[in-house]
Protein backbone atom coordinates (compact mmCIF):
# COMPACT_ATOMS: atom_id res chain seq x y z
CA UNK A 1 0.00 0.00 0.00
CA UNK A 2 1.40 3.38 -0.91
CA UNK A 3 1.54 5.96 1.86
CA UNK A 4 -1.42 8.27 2.01
CA UNK A 5 -0.57 11.74 0.81
CA UNK A 6 -0.60 14.42 3.46
CA UNK A 7 -3.85 16.29 3.19
CA UNK A 8 -4.58 19.24 5.32
CA UNK A 9 -7.35 21.67 4.79
CA UNK A 10 -6.13 25.03 3.62
CA UNK A 11 -6.31 27.99 5.92
CA UNK A 12 -9.95 28.82 5.67
CA UNK A 13 -11.49 32.21 6.14
CA UNK A 14 -14.46 32.13 8.45
CA UNK A 15 -17.59 33.81 7.13
CA UNK A 16 -17.34 37.48 8.16
CA UNK A 17 -21.07 37.82 8.69
CA UNK A 18 -23.69 35.42 10.00
CA UNK A 19 -26.01 36.01 7.07
CA UNK A 20 -27.70 38.34 4.59
CA UNK A 21 -31.06 40.07 4.60
CA UNK A 22 -33.01 41.10 1.52
CA UNK A 23 -34.21 44.68 1.28
CA UNK A 24 -37.03 46.39 -0.56
CA UNK A 25 -39.43 43.47 -0.49
CA UNK A 26 -42.25 44.25 1.90
CA UNK A 27 -43.83 40.89 1.34
CA UNK A 28 -40.89 38.99 2.75
CA UNK A 29 -42.06 37.01 5.71
CA UNK A 30 -39.84 36.98 8.72
CA UNK A 31 -39.15 33.29 8.88
CA UNK A 32 -38.45 32.82 5.24
CA UNK A 33 -34.76 32.19 5.14
CA UNK A 34 -32.38 29.65 3.69
CA UNK A 35 -29.84 27.99 5.91
CA UNK A 36 -26.45 27.71 4.30
CA UNK A 37 -24.38 24.99 5.95
CA UNK A 38 -20.76 25.66 6.69
CA UNK A 39 -19.53 23.14 4.13
CA UNK A 40 -21.77 24.76 1.50
CA UNK A 41 -20.32 28.16 2.28
CA UNK A 42 -16.84 26.66 2.09
CA UNK A 43 -17.55 24.98 -1.26
CA UNK A 44 -18.80 28.28 -2.72
CA UNK A 45 -15.83 30.13 -1.32
CA UNK A 46 -13.32 27.67 -2.76
CA UNK A 47 -14.99 27.22 -6.16
CA UNK A 48 -16.37 30.68 -6.92
CA UNK A 49 -14.25 33.01 -4.83
CA UNK A 50 -10.86 31.28 -4.81
CA UNK A 51 -11.67 29.97 -8.30
CA UNK A 52 -10.38 26.47 -7.60
CA UNK A 53 -11.59 23.55 -9.63
CA UNK A 54 -13.81 20.91 -8.07
CA UNK A 55 -10.97 18.49 -7.67
CA UNK A 56 -8.85 20.96 -5.72
CA UNK A 57 -11.82 22.06 -3.60
CA UNK A 58 -12.70 18.43 -2.83
CA UNK A 59 -9.16 17.73 -1.67
CA UNK A 60 -9.07 20.82 0.52
CA UNK A 61 -12.38 19.91 2.11
CA UNK A 62 -11.37 16.30 2.53
CA UNK A 63 -14.37 14.94 0.64
CA UNK A 64 -14.68 12.99 -2.61
CA UNK A 65 -15.18 14.93 -5.81
CA UNK A 66 -18.79 13.79 -6.35
CA UNK A 67 -19.58 14.82 -2.77
CA UNK A 68 -18.00 18.23 -3.32
CA UNK A 69 -20.05 18.69 -6.49
CA UNK A 70 -23.20 17.82 -4.57
CA UNK A 71 -22.40 20.23 -1.74
CA UNK A 72 -21.54 22.95 -4.25
CA UNK A 73 -24.72 22.60 -6.28
CA UNK A 74 -26.79 22.61 -3.10
CA UNK A 75 -25.09 25.86 -2.11
CA UNK A 76 -25.81 27.46 -5.49
CA UNK A 77 -29.41 26.32 -5.35
CA UNK A 78 -29.88 27.90 -1.92
CA UNK A 79 -28.33 31.20 -2.99
CA UNK A 80 -30.54 31.23 -6.09
CA UNK A 81 -33.59 30.51 -3.97
CA UNK A 82 -32.76 33.43 -1.68
CA UNK A 83 -32.24 35.80 -4.63
CA UNK A 84 -35.34 34.75 -6.51
CA UNK A 85 -37.76 34.41 -3.59
CA UNK A 86 -36.34 37.32 -1.59
CA UNK A 87 -35.30 35.17 1.35
CA UNK A 88 -32.60 35.92 3.85
CA UNK A 89 -29.53 33.70 4.16
CA UNK A 90 -28.25 32.35 7.43
CA UNK A 91 -24.70 31.02 7.42
CA UNK A 92 -24.02 28.23 9.85
CA UNK A 93 -20.94 28.60 11.96
CA UNK A 94 -20.43 32.20 10.92
CA UNK A 95 -18.97 32.94 14.29
CA UNK A 96 -17.77 29.58 15.49
CA UNK A 97 -15.42 28.12 12.96
CA UNK A 98 -12.05 29.31 11.95
CA UNK A 99 -8.98 27.58 10.68
CA UNK A 100 -5.55 28.48 11.85
CA UNK A 101 -2.36 28.19 9.82
CA UNK A 102 -0.79 24.76 9.46
CA UNK A 103 2.91 23.96 9.52
CA UNK A 104 5.09 21.00 8.77
CA UNK A 105 8.24 20.03 10.67
CA UNK A 106 11.03 18.77 8.43
CA UNK A 107 12.82 17.21 11.35
CA UNK A 108 10.21 14.93 12.92
CA UNK A 109 7.66 14.95 10.09
CA UNK A 110 4.72 16.13 12.15
CA UNK A 111 2.11 18.65 11.06
CA UNK A 112 0.64 21.13 13.47
CA UNK A 113 -1.64 24.11 13.56
CA UNK A 114 -1.05 27.40 15.29
CA UNK A 115 -4.25 28.43 17.04
CA UNK A 116 -2.85 31.43 18.91
CA UNK A 117 -2.41 33.86 16.05
CA UNK A 118 -1.01 36.66 18.18
CA UNK A 119 2.17 34.73 18.94
CA UNK A 120 4.77 34.00 16.34
CA UNK A 121 5.70 30.36 15.93
CA UNK A 122 9.35 29.43 15.43
CA UNK A 123 9.76 25.88 16.69
CA UNK A 124 8.12 22.52 16.23
CA UNK A 125 5.95 21.90 19.31
CA UNK A 126 7.09 18.27 19.38
CA UNK A 127 10.82 18.12 18.60
CA UNK A 128 11.65 21.84 19.02
CA UNK A 129 13.33 21.96 15.62
CA UNK A 130 13.23 25.31 13.82
CA UNK A 131 12.92 23.65 10.42
CA UNK A 132 9.25 24.36 10.09
CA UNK A 133 7.40 25.48 7.00
CA UNK A 134 3.98 26.96 6.56
CA UNK A 135 1.92 24.59 4.45
CA UNK A 136 0.72 26.52 1.44
CA UNK A 137 -1.92 25.67 -1.07
CA UNK A 138 -0.38 23.67 -3.87
CA UNK A 139 1.97 21.57 -1.80
CA UNK A 140 -0.76 19.91 0.07
CA UNK A 141 -2.83 18.20 -2.54
CA UNK A 142 -1.83 15.35 -4.73
CA UNK A 143 -3.28 15.20 -8.23
CA UNK A 144 -3.18 11.43 -8.17
CA UNK A 145 -5.08 11.09 -4.96
CA UNK A 146 -8.30 9.15 -5.23
CA UNK A 147 -10.44 8.43 -2.22
CA UNK A 148 -10.42 4.73 -1.58
CA UNK A 149 -12.72 2.45 0.24
CA UNK A 150 -13.17 -1.27 0.48
CA UNK A 151 -16.91 -1.28 -0.11
CA UNK A 152 -18.33 -3.24 -2.98
CA UNK A 153 -21.43 -2.54 -5.10
CA UNK A 154 -23.28 -5.70 -5.97
CA UNK A 155 -26.11 -6.37 -8.41
CA UNK A 156 -28.99 -7.98 -6.48
CA UNK A 157 -30.13 -9.81 -9.58
CA UNK A 158 -27.04 -11.46 -11.03
CA UNK A 159 -24.44 -10.93 -8.30
CA UNK A 160 -22.05 -8.86 -10.44
CA UNK A 161 -19.64 -6.94 -8.20
CA UNK A 162 -17.60 -3.80 -8.67
CA UNK A 163 -15.65 -1.53 -6.29
CA UNK A 164 -17.79 1.16 -4.72
CA UNK A 165 -16.99 4.73 -5.76
CA UNK A 166 -16.88 6.87 -2.62
CA UNK A 167 -19.51 9.59 -2.68
CA UNK A 168 -21.56 7.86 -5.38
CA UNK A 169 -24.63 5.99 -4.15
CA UNK A 170 -24.59 2.33 -5.21
CA UNK A 171 -28.14 2.64 -6.46
CA UNK A 172 -26.93 5.10 -9.09
CA UNK A 173 -24.72 2.37 -10.51
CA UNK A 174 -26.20 0.20 -13.23
CA UNK A 175 -25.17 -3.42 -13.56
CA UNK A 176 -23.30 -3.86 -16.85
CA UNK A 177 -24.63 -7.40 -17.17
CA UNK A 178 -28.33 -7.05 -16.61
CA UNK A 179 -28.95 -3.30 -16.29
CA UNK A 180 -30.36 -3.50 -12.77
CA UNK A 181 -29.64 -0.93 -10.10
CA UNK A 182 -26.87 -2.06 -7.79
CA UNK A 183 -26.78 -2.10 -3.97
CA UNK A 184 -24.04 -2.04 -1.31
CA UNK A 185 -22.69 -5.50 -0.61
CA UNK A 186 -23.49 -6.63 2.91
CA UNK A 187 -26.77 -4.70 3.20
CA UNK A 188 -30.09 -6.59 3.54
CA UNK A 189 -30.95 -6.03 -0.15
CA UNK A 190 -27.85 -7.88 -1.22
CA UNK A 191 -28.28 -10.75 1.24
CA UNK A 192 -28.97 -13.30 -1.43
CA UNK A 193 -25.29 -13.15 -2.37
CA UNK A 194 -23.73 -12.94 1.05
CA UNK A 195 -23.76 -16.66 1.75
Amino acid sequence: MSPRPIRIRKVSKPPVVSGFKPFGNKNTEKNKSVFLHYEEYEALRLCDYEMLNHHQAAVLMDVSRPTLTRIYSRARQKIAEALVDGKSIIIEGGKIYFDSDWYMCENCGCNFNHPVKTEEIKFCPLCKSNKITNIELGEEYDENYKPRCDDICICPECGYEQPHQPGRPCKNEICPQCNNRMVRKGTPHSRKFNY
Binding site: D99, F112, L126
Partner: protein, 105 residues
Protein backbone atom coordinates in the same frame (compact mmCIF):
# COMPACT_ATOMS: atom_id res chain seq x y z
CA UNK B 1 0.58 22.62 30.42
CA UNK B 2 -1.48 19.53 29.69
CA UNK B 3 -1.09 17.58 26.47
CA UNK B 4 -3.39 14.76 25.33
CA UNK B 5 -1.83 11.88 23.40
CA UNK B 6 -4.04 9.29 21.70
CA UNK B 7 -2.82 5.83 22.68
CA UNK B 8 -3.51 2.30 21.50
CA UNK B 9 -3.08 0.93 25.02
CA UNK B 10 -3.05 1.87 28.69
CA UNK B 11 0.70 2.14 29.16
CA UNK B 12 3.44 4.51 28.08
CA UNK B 13 4.89 1.73 25.94
CA UNK B 14 1.74 1.73 23.80
CA UNK B 15 1.91 3.18 20.32
CA UNK B 16 0.32 6.44 19.27
CA UNK B 17 -3.25 5.73 18.16
CA UNK B 18 -3.75 7.01 14.63
CA UNK B 19 -7.40 7.83 15.31
CA UNK B 20 -8.52 10.74 17.42
CA UNK B 21 -12.24 10.35 18.14
CA UNK B 22 -12.12 6.56 18.43
CA UNK B 23 -8.70 6.07 19.94
CA UNK B 24 -8.43 3.39 22.62
CA UNK B 25 -7.02 5.62 25.38
CA UNK B 26 -6.20 9.24 26.01
CA UNK B 27 -3.00 9.72 27.93
CA UNK B 28 -2.80 13.18 29.42
CA UNK B 29 0.64 14.44 30.28
CA UNK B 30 1.26 17.49 32.43
CA UNK B 31 4.55 19.16 31.45
CA UNK B 32 4.84 20.95 34.79
CA UNK B 33 4.09 18.20 37.29
CA UNK B 34 5.20 15.40 34.88
CA UNK B 35 2.00 13.67 35.97
CA UNK B 36 0.22 11.15 33.76
CA UNK B 37 -3.48 10.47 33.56
CA UNK B 38 -4.74 7.49 31.55
CA UNK B 39 -8.36 7.71 30.41
CA UNK B 40 -10.05 4.84 28.55
CA UNK B 41 -11.95 6.48 25.69
CA UNK B 42 -15.69 6.03 26.36
CA UNK B 43 -16.38 7.06 22.74
CA UNK B 44 -14.33 4.26 21.22
CA UNK B 45 -17.28 2.27 19.97
CA UNK B 46 -20.10 4.79 19.68
CA UNK B 47 -21.87 4.88 16.34
CA UNK B 48 -21.91 8.63 15.85
CA UNK B 49 -20.40 11.71 17.37
CA UNK B 50 -17.21 10.12 18.68
CA UNK B 51 -15.18 13.11 17.50
CA UNK B 52 -17.06 15.92 19.27
CA UNK B 53 -17.49 13.79 22.43
CA UNK B 54 -13.75 13.14 22.52
CA UNK B 55 -13.05 16.85 22.03
CA UNK B 56 -15.29 17.59 25.03
CA UNK B 57 -13.49 15.00 27.07
CA UNK B 58 -10.00 16.39 26.48
CA UNK B 59 -11.19 20.02 26.62
CA UNK B 60 -12.69 19.33 30.05
CA UNK B 61 -9.19 18.35 31.24
CA UNK B 62 -7.87 21.75 30.12
CA UNK B 63 -5.62 20.27 27.51
CA UNK B 64 -3.71 22.79 25.35
CA UNK B 65 -2.29 20.38 22.78
CA UNK B 66 -3.38 17.06 21.28
CA UNK B 67 -1.01 14.61 19.59
CA UNK B 68 -2.70 12.09 17.27
CA UNK B 69 -2.48 10.54 13.81
CA UNK B 70 -5.40 12.29 12.17
CA UNK B 71 -8.28 14.67 12.80
CA UNK B 72 -11.47 14.91 10.75
CA UNK B 73 -12.26 18.18 9.00
CA UNK B 74 -15.15 19.17 11.28
CA UNK B 75 -13.21 18.13 14.35
CA UNK B 76 -10.27 20.26 13.26
CA UNK B 77 -12.52 23.32 13.15
CA UNK B 78 -13.95 22.51 16.55
CA UNK B 79 -10.56 21.99 18.19
CA UNK B 80 -9.24 25.07 16.44
CA UNK B 81 -12.07 27.17 17.83
CA UNK B 82 -11.12 26.01 21.34
CA UNK B 83 -7.58 27.25 20.67
CA UNK B 84 -6.13 23.80 21.24
CA UNK B 85 -3.09 22.95 19.16
CA UNK B 86 -3.21 19.76 17.06
CA UNK B 87 0.00 17.88 16.36
CA UNK B 88 -0.41 15.26 13.64
CA UNK B 89 2.08 12.39 13.39
CA UNK B 90 1.15 10.07 10.57
CA UNK B 91 2.37 6.52 10.09
CA UNK B 92 4.61 6.53 13.08
CA UNK B 93 5.89 3.73 15.28
CA UNK B 94 6.43 6.09 18.16
CA UNK B 95 5.21 5.13 21.59
CA UNK B 96 3.56 7.50 24.02
CA UNK B 97 6.83 7.52 25.99
CA UNK B 98 8.77 8.53 22.83
CA UNK B 99 6.41 11.45 22.36
CA UNK B 100 6.68 12.52 25.99
CA UNK B 101 10.48 12.39 25.65
CA UNK B 102 10.28 14.64 22.61
CA UNK B 103 8.04 17.08 24.45
CA UNK B 104 10.50 17.18 27.37
CA UNK B 105 13.56 17.88 25.25
Amino acid sequence: MKIAITSTGNSLESKLDQRFGRCAYFIIYDTETKGIEIIPNPNKDVEEGAGPASVNLVASRNVKKIVSGAFGVKIKSLIDSLKIQMIVLKETDKTVQDIIDMLNK
